[in-house]
Symmetry: C2
Subunit: 176 residues, 2 copies
């Protein structure tokens, strides 16, 4: 699958997954794609934990209460550290976002589906921290996102987006 095809085919999948295990080599490929993303001043602020242990997945499901997690045969948890790139500036949000996007594309390329779950676990109830505790992640890392990984058991939906002309221009604001 070409990069453009993966980019076009990717969508946020929130349905159930087939009961098919994900080979470790695929989880490695997905994580390698994530780690290949750039980071501000090469600070490499993003780390990853793939979860494919059924008992752990069940515990994480109980925290998130998301049906999609219940059936996912694996998930990838995204950890970040607010490492300073220079002076007082860190680009950790940009770093993990680029890593997540790479992983979403690798997931699609390998025939799986996923969804970027972030707001659900970084809210005031701090579900991400509870997930991190289950995975024995120390306090200086934040678990900001997880990606379920599996074969879709249901159809895909694509959200409607504004037309190209409403968001992309040439040589000036709203110019063609």
């Amino acid at each position: 699958m070409t990069a453009s095809q993966a980019i076009k085919n990717r969508t946020s999948y929130r349905g159930n997954f087939k009961n098919t295990a994900i080979p470790r080599e695929d989880l490695i490929k997905i994580m390698e794609a994530g780690l290949a993303a750039p980071s501000g001043c090469n600070t490499q602020t993003t780390s990853l934990i793939a979860v494919d242990d059924a008992e752990l997945l069940q515990k994480l499901y109980e925290l998130t209460e998301l049906e999609t997690v219940k059936t996912a045969p694996a998930m990838i948890c995204v950890l970040t550290q607010e490492i300073i790139a220079y002076r007082d500036r860190s680009f950790f949000v940009q770093d993990y976002s680029a890593a997540i996007q790479n992983m979403l594309l690798a997931i699609v390329e390998l025939g799986y589906q996923s969804c970027w779950y972030e707001g659900q676990i970084t809210d005031v109830d701090r579900i991400g921290r509870k997930m991190a505790d289950i995975l024995e992640v120390p306090e200086d890392y934040e678990l900001v996102c997880f990606l379920p990984v599996g074969i879709a058991a249901e159809g895909l939906n694509y959200v409607e987006k504004k037309p190209f002309e409403a968001r992309a221009w040439f040589n000036g604001f709203k110019r063609r």
Copy 2:
């Protein structure tokens, strides 16, 4: 080029570019890749301006003083709006970062090189705002990043990264 190949081949290119114009259809493909990225609650906070006008490029070069910009036959400027996804939360940084990563991959797939320039224009001297003024971008948009686009005239360099084992684990922190 497969998605994984584009992900592996992508690197931050800061050298000079060949004096070869970028066809509009390629700039469109790159921007389409950017706009295909997900956004928090589909808020579509990212907009793009491709610049291929020589006079404008020269003005932008004078602002950034980056040699790579001097020779780039085109660049894509990334605009963002801090649109609320829900309650008080906006995911605009995540949104534009995912869009940038998609564009970097599309650029590589098309045979060009680029680099994510953000810190250089979002610092206290607010170069991004000055660039936005040249492009007649209203104040409610922030110009946070630009991507030069061109054919590399020099060799590529790949930064050294920590080994996989230092950043990616299974079923627990630093577990294998």
